[in-house]
């Protein structure tokens, strides 16, 4: 399976690079390579792990008058420590697709491995996606293919089919109805939903969606946000959501969501109400206070509240302090949470410090205070080449003392190749 993934991964990288210079007059290649080398202990058996990750993403465009492009993202991993299950190799093709975009009507046609966000959550498919603007403010989109999912002890779905019809009054309203159907597996899905964006006046936005599970015949979720401001540098963000566990989690492919006794109760219903108020003292400093109330049908309620002070100067640095309190009816839902961070640039060098502390009212595994400290140093060798290293220390209910380090190399590239046998020129 892994070798198959690697072959597909390599094929998707090589294919466009080989084909496009032949097919087009000029192409641009832009992308980024992120290489990470991490030193840490495994969570499960405390064995030493030295995973080396390579995350690569790039885009080829300016093909056929800037209408066709190719997009790729994927990663590969090899564990450099032989003592951890030998050479532990893994890879993932996150997306790889050809895209056509027209100059008129916002027509998009994508095919390959895609991330589709059509009204609801992000779906990953091997297939095709198309959309276009229609007359009178309408637009329509549709997708079909094979879902990219991880399946537990069951049979994966054969196909996924979905679409969305939306109506827009520019700067005032967007209203969409969407649906998806996933068939052929042990966890079929049939969902329909409605999504809303409304701006009744200039400083108020209402966004939200409701999703209905046609398999269980019940509402999965209603989730709505109201953003207001700025009013004299004040902003208000209100959220309200209702979740029915039986309808929301029924299609999960991992056991923890499958209503195991003592974990999730299918009869549970959650109502979340939240408010955040922020005030910008000036362009660089802002303060905010936030509150969330979790109300349940079966287990008791909980309140989460706190505040934040943040300071940021673009291109120079920033700092922040957050303090929150979780006040629930069970022991594990009573704790205080603090975070302090700061980052500063000194020419080509930068330094970041991040401290996080969680103080539990009742000891968890003998630990009352769980904390972590991260120190990160970075150096920009050029505008497109950067190296960074971080050291992390953790003390928590799982690890008494744990050190981790991570080396990070970032390489951005941007090259163009002219047609008619022209060479490649780095910008």
């Amino acid at each position: 399976m892994k070798s198959r993934v690697l072959i597909v991964l390599i094929a998707f990288v090589i294919m466009p690079v080989v084909l496009f210079p032949v097919l087009s007059h000029a192409i641009n290649l832009t992308g980024e390579s992120n290489t990470y080398l991490q030193f840490r202990q495994a969570t499960t058996d405390q064995s030493r792990l030295i995973p080396l990750y390579e995350y690569l993403n790039f885009r080829l465009d300016d093909i056929a008058d800037n209408k066709i492009s190719f997009h790729y993202g994927g990663w590969g991993k090899v564990d450099l420590d032989d003592r951890s299950y030998g050479r532990n190799v893994d890879a993932d093709l996150q997306y790889a697709y050809m895209s056509f975009k027209s100059d008129k009507n916002n027509i998009i046609l994508n095919f390959g491995r895609l991330i589709v966000t059509d009204g609801g959550d992000a779906e990953k498919i091997d297939g095709v996606y198309a959309r276009t603007d229609l007359k009178y403010g309408f637009s329509v989109s549709a997708y079909a293919g094979h879902p990219v999912e991880e399946i537990l002890n069951g049979v994966g779905s054969d196909s996924i089919l979905g679409g969305r019809l939306s109506y827009q009054i520019p700067s005032l309203l967007t209203l969409g109805v969407s649906g998806l159907k996933e068939t052929g597996g042990s966890d079929p899905r049939e969902e329909v939903g409605a999504d809303l964006w409304l701006r009744p006046i200039k400083s108020i936005d209402i966004t939200g969606r409701s999703t209905y599970n046609a398999v269980t015949d019940g509402w999965m979720e209603h989730a709505y946000h109201i953003s207001m401001g700025p009013y004299s540098n004040f902003r208000f963000s209100t959220e309200a959501s209702w979740i029915n566990y039986r309808d929301y989690f029924t299609a999960a492919t991992v056991a923890v969501f499958n209503f195991m006794p003592g974990v999730l109760n299918p009869a549970e219903k959650l109502r979340l109400l939240g408010e955040e108020v922020s005030y910008s003292i000036n362009d660089n400093i802002s303060v905010s206070a936030d509150y969330k109330n979790y109300g349940y049908n079966i287990q008791g309620s909980a309140n989460y509240f706190g505040g934040k002070v943040s300071y940021a100067v673009p291109g120079s640095g920033g700092a922040g302090f957050t303090a929150h309190r979780m006040d629930g009816q069970t022991d594990s839902l009573r704790y205080s949470e603090f975070r302090v961070y700061g980052f500063k640039k000194f020419g080509k060098t930068d330094l970041t410090l991040d401290l996080l502390d969680i103080d539990y009212d009742r000891r968890l595994n003998g630990v009352k205070n769980a904390y972590s400290a991260s120190l990160i140093g970075g150096f920009n060798i050029t505008d497109k080449l950067r190296v960074a290293a971080d050291v992390d220390y953790y003390h928590n209910p799982v690890y008494n003392h744990d050190f981790r380090t991570l080396l990070h190399l970032i390489c951005k590239f941007d090259t163009s190749a002219g047609g008619g046998g022209g060479g490649t020129e780095a910008k």
């Binding site: 969570t43 993932d92 996150q94 959550d121 991880e150 520019p170 959650l270 839902l333």
Partner: protein, 148 residues
Amino acid sequence: MKRMKIMTLTILCLMFIIGVYACADTNSLTKVHPTEIKELSEAVCSACHEDDRASMDHKEGWINKHGFYAGQRKQVCSLCHEDSFCSECHANKPGLIPSDMHKDKPDNFYPHRGDYLTQHMIDGRVNPAPCMKCHGRQNNSICRTCHK
């Protein structure tokens, strides 16, 4: 599989017919934002725009509602973000966690910062719905290490 191909073909034909007969004749959105936004603190859309784009300020509350905007107008997101930006959190398979990938951007408030092994048990009980979005049908093989 044959049924799937027929359905896909039907959808493509339908889109083509709709495109020919009912298209709005609107100008398509540009592909890339004309100015580069380098830092989160610079992502204040209302500083330049007064129409619907002004509602996409990356200020307080944005993390909670970004999914709605991605669902309605991913084209606008694509002006500044490649799909790799989405894939860092909404991953197919477990790689590095997002906060580890961006330790030097603490003001972005990436998820799973610090000791998330302990904290996930608490967050999962408080509100498991956000967990489901990323780990419900994808990126959950690591969950099965304990949740068999």
